[in-house]
Amino acid sequence: MKKLIELNVNSEIYEVAIDPHRSLLEVLRETIGLTGSKEGCGLGACGACTVLIDGDPALACLTLADRCVGHEILTIEGLAKPDALHPIQKAAVKFGAIQCGYCTPGWIMSSYSLLARNPKPTRDDIVRGIAGNLCRCTGYVKIIEAIDEAAKEMSASG
């Protein structure tokens, strides 16, 4: 039996009819059509599906969509303005922190949340902030550099 729910995703309200056991990741990707959040493992081990719920990072593959009613969901698609990337996204491109791009949305969301809580992170804070996001391409070094750069730019521009 499908259930009609309202989800607030990237400040837009989506009215969706879902089976109540559907994960947030499935509903985002298949029902709403926002495929930026990725499935890498399906059991919360890789972080590719990381989104923010009320500002906190959450693994969308382990979160029931039905439990997100009344909460604010932010996905990778909600970060950039139409004409400008978010500073983290900009730094990710500039510093070569992206290769295949599949883990990118996940770690960008993790670091977005980190910088909201901790605008001047140490290198160690950054390392811990993305410890739940696996990347096989980059060896993480350029990701860490990019987040550090974004933090500085965001602090400087207030």
Binding site: G36, G40, G42, L43, Q99, G101, A131, V141
Partner: protein
């Protein structure tokens, strides 16, 4: 190549970000699993729970009756054609016909209106198995009386023998000989994107379109056509964004054939996305190997002769077996001068998932063995590991004993630089307890040239809007080849990178390219793109010269314009030049075509003949600094060093990315990545229990510059994507020996295993 010419380069050699970086950063890049089409069905595959069994009976009738299920296929419902990425090694069916050969072997596939119904349908398929004796260890598999997995004697599916010089005489002259045995494990590729495909068969036109997460679109087209008995001209393969490959998406898998066949039967598009468990246990991994190496040297450390005996655990299928063994043979011939060498390699079937190509492809196992033994020999002779490597390092222009052409070689330089980056002399002298440094070295190739069909094409179009369209068959797997190829076109034509529009890896629109493997993309496709751009330029040049009343030799292509050297005001935009051509009655758009194929010898003849396997070779040295915690057996890698002669770096930013990733993948091979198998069943088929490095595990990664120009490579470029993976594990093992005196001969180095070795040494 003078520095001045390099200084003139416009986009080549620049640290430019990926051209698709912003799309990826926004989450807008579409991977195969992101694609959707109207009336899309979900496919799922039923797999064997037994390592070796006869299929007595498969009954899919209950599954077929389930509401929402649109098609079910078994081995009887799909053309009975054997396939394989290497034709002479073909031994797989899309779905099992008589027998299943490992836990996970494919038995049936379903297409249903959603994923859940497809899964439910799998439960309704009744399979009667007759279990057969299974064999899991290659030595057991070779023993007399072992169950035969395919009908080949002793389960030896391939053997290679490569010999040059006079090995017996070489050992006869040796003043010191040692023989050692090294064992390596299975390592998973673990790209973050699991294998995925969408297939759409149009019944009206009998055309099949496949969007597949694949490194080799043109091979997939050919093999899909053959296996499903369709004309190749009716099959189109498109590679969407690919979420990493590392060799794991070179091979064909059941999902490709099943999605296509299910779509053909239903007339609806079908998507199959492997779960992480399927990606880990039913695709490929790095071959576990046992490498026995006997080496004879002079007292001064000069290598005289080597004899390798290599046994690879192939798992249930061949995959690239003959290629893998050949590469294992070729890359013990680099980077040192070994005048007399014999390699005997065996690929053995076992009832486990199949091994296959993975970054380094057969080579990291070999180099772990010999780079470790090199340090052991050095110690025997009282030599420094740096010294013995320099004594034996092959040099530029030197005649190679197996007649490889060493046109450029920064190997000795790389050894010296790696040693400096590790403060070698001080560290070795200081001898701090439980701290150590070690080296590992590698030579690699720039695309295999021993197969006639491994050439790359490219088309460059210049249109009246002044933009350049580049068509390349090369498959960007996330390493950034689209960016590098666009840079090459932009350089040759003097346009801004942003003005190059690129369409890649679509078998219907783009010219032939073998795909992404063997570290040949930049070299092969890059040369093709450069030739195509030159050809387009030539077509425009004469008309532009007439229009500008100048000699063609005096014209310069730069900033999207063609102008007279020294008088930039006398010029045309590229778009204006195209118009000039049209008004002069020349056909437009201007189209340049390029095709690059390195000098070729036929496949496998190189095992019996001397000669080149590649048009150029890369050389590199890797270094490691480690700290060992003797109470727990924990090895902490403090620093990894990569000094890689990759020729000209077309894009240093992307090269660093390749080297960083290679170092960390090599560290994973050394320090813990492995499958735990029990009777052929993986006990750790997920990313919690199969542990790859996280951000918390990363040491300092030190990429040291090299500056080499290879005249055969595009703008002097060579390989950078694989070679650096190769020497990391031995560098770490050698550093551990320096730190503790414990010699590692088996990978991975687990804490419990290493702790036991440490305790044994204390006693």
């Amino acid at each position: 190549m003078s520095t001045r010419q390099r200084d003139d380069w416009w986009t080549v050699g620049k640290r430019l970000p990926l051209i698709d970086g912003p799309t990826k950063a926004r989450g807008g890049a579409e991977y195969a699993g992101d694609l959707s089409l109207p009336r899309l069905l979900w496919g799922k595959i039923l797999r064997s729970p037994h390592p070796h069994a006869r299929l007595v009976h498969v009954d899919a009738s209950r599954a077929r009756r389930l509401p929402g299920v649109k098609a079910v296929i078994t081995g009887k419902d799909i053309p009975r054609v054997i396939y394989g990425i290497v034709p002479k090694a073909a031994d797989e069916y899309a779905l099992a016909v008589d027998k299943v050969l490992y836990v996970g072997d494919e038995v049936a596939a379903v297409a249903a209106i959603d994923e859940e119904r497809a899964e439910e349908a799998l439960d309704k398929i009744e399979v009667e198995y007759e279990q057969l004796p299974a064999v899991f260890d290659p030595e057991d598999a070779r023993a007399p009386g072992a169950p035969l997995i395919h009908q080949v004697p002793n389960n030896i599916s391939f053997q290679v023998r490569k010999e040059f010089g006079d090995v017996i005489n070489g050992f006869g002259q040796a003043e010191h000989v040692r023989q050692d045995r090294f064992v390596t494990q299975a390592q998973a590729h673990c790209p973050l994107e699991p294998h995925a495909v969408v297939a759409s068969f149009d019944s009206a036109s009998s055309r099949l379109t496949v969007w597949s997460a694949k490194q080799i679109p043109f091979f997939l087209r050919k093999i899909l056509a053959k296996t499903l008995q369709l004309p190749e001209a009716k099959v189109r393969v498109i590679k969407p964004h690919l979420g990493g490959g590392f060799g794991g998406k070179v091979d064909m898998f059941s999902l490709d054939f099943c999605a296509a066949e299910l779509s053909r039967r239903t007339g609806r598009p079908v998507k199959i996305v492997y779960t992480r468990e399927e990606s880990l246990t039913t695709t490929r991994h790095r071959h576990p190997m046992v490498v026995e190496v006997k080496t004879g040297v002079k007292r001064d450390g000069t290598l005289l002769a080597q004899h390798y005996r290599v046994v690879a655990d192939g798992g249930a299928y061949n995959s690239t077996a003959p290629v893998m063994l050949s590469l294992a043979a070729f890359f013990v011939m680099l980077p040192y001068r070994v005048p007399n060498l014999l390699l005997e390699g065996y690929h053995i079937y076992t009832n486990k998932p199949a091994g296959g190509p993975m970054r380094g492809h057969g080579v990291p196992q070999m180099r772990f063995a010999f780079e470790s033994q090199m340090d052991m020999i050095a110690e025997d002779l009282g030599l420094d590991p740096v010294e013995i490597r320099l004594i034996n390092a092959i040099k530029e222009g030197e005649e190679h004993p197996a007649k490889l052409t060493i046109r450029t070689c920064g190997f000795s330089e790389s050894i010296g630089k790696a040693a400096r980056a590790l403060s070698w002399q001080e560290q070795r002298k200081r001898n701090v307890k439980n701290r150590g440094v070690g080296l590992g070295c590698s030579g690699f190739f720039c695309g295999v040239n021993n197969l006639r069909h491994l050439g790359s094409g490219a088309v460059v179009k210049i249109e009246e809007d002044g933009a350049v369209t580049l068509l390349t068959g090369a498959a960007d797997v996330g390493q950034g080849s689209n960016t590098v190829l666009a840079q090459i076109a932009a350089e040759e034509l003097g346009v801004y990178l942003d003005d190059v529009r690129l369409t890649a890896a679509d078998t219907e629109l783009t010219p032939l390219d073998p795909g992404t493997f063997g570290s040949g993309v930049t070299f092969r496709a890059g040369n093709a793109v450069r030739l195509a751009a030159k050809s387009a330029k030539k077509k425009i040049l004469e008309q532009a010269a007439a229009e500008l009343e100048a000699s063609p030799d005096d014209l310069l292509f730069r900033e999207g314009r063609i102008f007279v050297k020294g008088s930039p005001e006398r010029g045309l935009t590229l778009g204006e030049a195209v118009k000039v051509c049209r008004y002069a009655g020349k056909p437009t758009p201007i189209i340049g075509r390029g095709f690059y194929h390195p000098p070729a010898k036929e496949a496998y003849t190189l095992l019996t003949e001397l000669g080149d396997i590649s048009a150029a070779y890369s050389f590199s040295t890797q270094g490691a600094e480690v700290e060992v915690e003797p109470e727990t057996g924990m090895v902490k890698v403090l620093k990894l060093v990569s000094v890689h002669d990759g020729g000209t770096l077309i894009n240093p930013l992307l090269v660093e990315g390749q080297l960083d990733g290679s170092m960390v993948m090599g560290m994973g091979q050394a320090l813990g990545e492995t499958f735990i198998w029990e009777r052929g069943q993986a006990l750790n088929p997920n990313l919690l229990d199969y542990r790859m490095a996280t951000s918390m595990d990363i040491p300092t990664l030190d990429v040291v510059d090299m500056d080499i120009y290879d005249s055969e490579g595009p703008f002097g470029a060579k390989e950078v994507g694989e070679g650096t993976t190769v020497g990391i594990a031995p560098a770490i093992a050698n550093a551990i020996y320096h730190a503790t005196g414990v010699r590692i001969t088996q990978l991975p180095i687990t804490r419990e295993g290493f702790l036991k070795s440490l305790e044994k040494k204390e006693v």
